[in-house]
């Protein structure tokens, strides 16, 4: 069973993380309520990633549908020893979104979206908190310096491999590898505990 929302509101970060794992276990056992719970809980975190990569809210919604189908089917492959539930879900979202633009790129070019298309209104209190963390993360990204930011940008948002990045930027592969690591390590330090999204 998915933890109820009242219980959720009272939990601290480690409890929440444990509850997320239990929800995923329930999903693996075929509990659709647990899937709905995870959908509600993580959509504000995941949808922006799908939207940023695909550049279209219709495409991002298609991506999210594939993401949740994959979560439903592959929940048993989640390995808590390798990372958190949000990290796992975000990795799936990013992969499906990158797959989506790869399959689309033959037909249409990606359109940059200056502002996200119409969406349902988020909870104003939450979204203010979320937006402030997001702004901080964006600022931190810029502060990585142009090289590390570019390497992370190409790897994370465009899905380039490290050797493709080396080729694109003209930097040695070894340098690309260490910039990636340094960039990620710095970003990690700025990630707040708990549900900031």
């Amino acid at each position: 069973m998915a933890p109820g929302s009242c219980e959720g509101a009272l939990m601290n970060a480690p409890d929440r993380a444990a509850a997320d794992i239990r929800s995923l276990e329930s999903v693996a056992n075929g509990d659709r309520e647990a899937l709905a719970f995870l959908y509600d809980r993580f959509t504000p975190l995941l949808f922006p990633v799908a939207l940023r990569i695909t550049g279209s809210s219709a495409d991002a919604e298609d991506v999210m549908q594939e993401v949740w189908v994959q979560v439903w089917r592959r929940a048993s492959s989640f390995d808590a020893a390798r990372g958190s539930v949000p990290a796992w879900l975000m990795t799936i979202t990013r992969s499906r979104a990158l797959d989506h633009i790869r399959s689309r790129s033959a037909r249409t070019k990606r359109e940059e979206v200056a502002e996200p298309p119409k969406q349902s209104a988020p909870d104003p209190g939450r979204s203010a908190e979320s937006e402030s963390v997001r702004a901080k993360l964006r600022a931190a990204f810029e502060e990585l310096g142009p090289e590390r930011a570019q390497v992370l940008e190409l790897a994370y948002w465009e899905g380039l491999s490290q050797s493709e990045i080396a080729e694109r930027t003209g930097s040695p592969l070894g340098t690309v590898k260490s910039w990636t690591r340094q960039g990620l390590e710095r970003m990690r330090k700025l990630l707040p505990d708990g549900d900031w999204w």
């Binding site: 075929g30 949808f47 993360l137």
Partner: protein, 292 residues
């Protein structure tokens, strides 16, 4: 941070969490993790969280309210078990399959290991019951999708091409049970030993059916190669591999349990008879990551 410097694999962890590694690097890292490195495992968790910080820099946005019911009413998300699409043991039925199974077991180069593994014992038993092995190159499968097979084949290494040529020359009639969604993955050398091994693992994630082809398999005396699957950080042995005189082996697994959770196939070099533990004790020599 400095303590990590003795692990050149640490830089690979960053690329791994971004899915940006080349196959060689990915194999090297997975082998390193499989051999056990707590620092790199910790880094994996940490850097995996770091990707949330990168993804979290995207501007907030929410989908339309309609998406929720669209997702939850998706026919692929049915009321039955989440793993339903991977349900069943994936074994085909019918006399052909039975005959194939018998024939395979008569000369199985994949030896069940002595003693049940703790924990995975039941899974192992199921797996070994489902597993049957075709002695190298007496038999070989073509995937029904000939076009796909050719594309995959071009990507694998020279020895495997020779095998196909040899079989064509023998006019051996291909006969293969094909599961939809079969993909082939190169077993990349990890560089942990100096041997020209090569191989490929073809795997249907939904059914758990797999064929692993290996060549140049010549273990030093007193040692054996052992085949593994990884589910995240957890290895499970598929048994010791016995090659033919030419150093080749073709291993067929009809239904690997919990197939959707498999993240890689791997080969390690172990003491004769296989690893005495639930994980590889010798160097992991080849890895084929299974992408989702």
């Amino acid at each position: 941070m400095a303590k990590h410097e003795r692990h050149p694999e640490l830089d690979l962890v960053a690329g791994y969490v971004l899915q940006a590694l080349g196959p060689q690097d990915e194999a090297r890292l997975l082998a390193h993790l499989m051999e056990g490195c707590e620092e790199c495992e910790a880094a994996l968790r940490d850097l995996s969280d770091a990707t949330v910080a990168v993804g979290g820099s995207a501007p907030s946005a929410m989908p339309s309210d309609a998406l929720r019911s669209r997702v939850l009413s998706d026919p692929r998300i049915s009321g039955s078990a989440g793993a339903s699409s991977d349900g069943g043991d994936g074994r085909d039925s019918g006399t052909d399959a039975d005959a194939r199974s018998r024939r395979a077991q008569e000369r199985t180069p994949l030896r069940p290991r002595d003693g049940a593994r703790t924990g995975g014992g039941r899974a192992m038993a199921g797996m070994l019951a489902a597993a049957c092995l075709i002695l190298a190159f007496g038999n070989y499968w073509f995937w029904q999708k000939a076009g796909e097979f050719r594309a995959e084949r071009d990507a694998v290494q020279q020895t495997l091409r020779e095998v196909e040529a040899e079989l064509s020359a023998k006019e051996w009639i291909p006969k293969m049970v094909t599961a939809p969604g079969t993909d082939c993955y190169d077993l990349a050398l990890t560089g942990s030993i100096d041997a020209p091994l090569n191989g490929t693992a073809c795997f249907a994630k939904e059914s758990g059916a797999a064929v692993v082809l290996l060549a140049e398999l010549r273990p030093p005396s007193g040692r054996d190669y052992e085949l593994w699957v990884l589910r995240g950080s957890v290895p499970t042995s598929l048994g010791v591999i016995t090659a033919d005189d030419e150093g080749r082996a073709a291993i067929r697994l009809d239904a690997i349990p919990d197939a959707s959770a498999i993240t890689a196939f791997a080969v390690s070099l172990e003491p004769a008879g296989g690893s005495p533990e639930a994980a590889p004790t010798g160097p992991v020599v080849m890895v084929a990551p299974v992408t989702s």
